[in-house]
């Protein structure tokens, strides 16, 4: 399946990552939620954990300390309190 989701991950001091993805898994306060294309619109609070993004053949991981995720019209916005970008 083509990457149908538009993903933006933003932190207070700037955009962390943005691009197309086929699947996003986010650590919501009520457990991990997996988001695929055409999911129903959702606004969920995140707890500390790892946001996993599958973009093409790449699997990306973003450890976050909290925040929220919003999903509508196949656009995902993950608003993170702090993202540690130590994967590089």
């Amino acid at each position: 399946m083509a990457d149908a989701l538009t993903v933006d991950i933003v932190a207070p001091d700037g955009k962390v990552w943005s691009g197309a993805a086929s699947r996003v898994i986010a650590p919501s306060v009520e457990g991990e939620i997996g988001l695929l294309a055409n999911h129903e619109p959702i606004l969920s609070v995140l707890r500390a954990g790892t946001v996993r993004v599958t973009s093409g053949t790449d699997a990306l991981e973003f450890p976050v300390t909290g925040g929220f995720v919003s999903f509508d019209h196949n656009t995902i916005t993950i608003v993170a309190d702090a993202v540690s970008t130590d994967e590089d």
Binding site: D8, V10, A11, P12, D13, G14, K15, S28, V29, E30, I33, E40, P41, I42, L43, S44, V45, G67, F68, S70, D72, H73, T77, V79, D81
Partner: protein, 296 residues
């Protein structure tokens, strides 16, 4: 006579070294402005995302949150002034403080008592010099604000806003300096609490807003969104003020450099005429000495 010349030369030398310092500070400020403006732009997506999310909640559920309700049980209001840590920025801090004074005056006329919060050493010392009480002050990073500090400030104000005790406050105003362009910055006042979410609400979308599913619930989502919204507003104010401070500093230092050049020019003239006077006097001494010898 020789002493006169030496004094002038000394002054020229010290003014020259001051001029070098002013020039260096001007260049430092100029190079930091770009970075400060980038940070203002970088913070925008976060603020935008939060505002959108809040308006989504507001559309789909009845917003009834302590942060959006007016408090009537206390007449204490908070004023947060954002100023610089050091001077050398022209009238930057003075303008912000004057705006804060005007606001304080207005609030007092409305029968409210004002609690001051100071960000930046200039604001803190302004209040302490006048022996006025400051509820809290933060210093040390006025030209490169950190989000952590914004969070700290937001939490302090938030705590006072929701508390029931003696130190409760009913409104929060922020005085900051808006960065419009490199040549135009102005001190502005915004009312932070109670909240009015303005931007982003009127979104003329072709279809109605999607029906959101809130997890765990609309209330809880709002509970976690609103404090973040305040943090991001305060952070945005701090970033704009930092950019304004640097722009003001660059301008002030530029003026200082040209003043130093004026002074150097003036002293060079005085030194030259002192040297000329000395030569003239020596010649007249020699000539009159020779005349006296010839006459005898």
């Amino acid at each position: 006579m020789g002493g006169q010349q030496r004094v002038y030369r000394q002054r020229i030398r010290s003014t020259q070294s001051l001029k070098k310092i002013f020039r260096a500070m001007e260049l430092i400020a100029a190079s930091r402005i770009g970075k400060a403006r980038d940070r203002v732009t970088a913070a925008a997506p976060y603020a935008h995302a939060i505002t959108r999310a809040i308006s989504a909640v507001a559309v789909h559920s009845k917003v009834d949150h302590p942060l959006t309700n007016e408090r009537t049980d206390t007449d204490r209001v908070a004023v947060l002034v954002i100023s610089a840590d050091r001077g050398m920025a022209g009238a930057y801090s003075a303008n912000a403080l004057r705006e804060a004074e005007r606001l304080t005056e207005r609030l007092k006329n409305e029968g409210k008592s004002v609690v001051s919060y100071a960000l930046g050493r200039r604001a803190a010392s302004y209040y302490s010099f006048r022996k006025r009480e400051v509820a809290s002050s933060w210093q040390g990073e006025s030209d490169s604000p950190q989000f952590g500090t914004a969070q700290e400030i937001a939490r302090a104000l938030y705590k006072a806003y929701v508390s029931d005790g003696e130190d409760a406050i009913s409104e929060v105003h922020v005085v900051y300096t808006h960065f419009t362009s490199m040549v135009s910055q102005e001190a502005r006042v915004i009312r932070l609490l109670p909240l009015e979410v303005v931007e982003g609400v009127a979104e003329p979308d072709e279809d109605v807003e999607p029906l959101y599913d809130f997890e765990p619930g609309a209330e809880e989502v709002l509970d976690s969104l609103l404090p973040r919204y305040i943090e991001s507003r305060i952070y945005a104010c701090m970033l704009l003020s930092a950019a304004s401070e640097l722009a003001n500093r660059q301008r002030a230092m530029n003026t200082a450099v040209s003043n130093a050049e004026d002074i150097i020019r003036q002293y060079t003239r005085l030194a030259n005429s002192a040297r000329q006077a000395e030569i003239t006097q020596e010649i007249s001494e020699i000539v009159s000495g020779a005349d006296a010898l010839a006459a005898s």
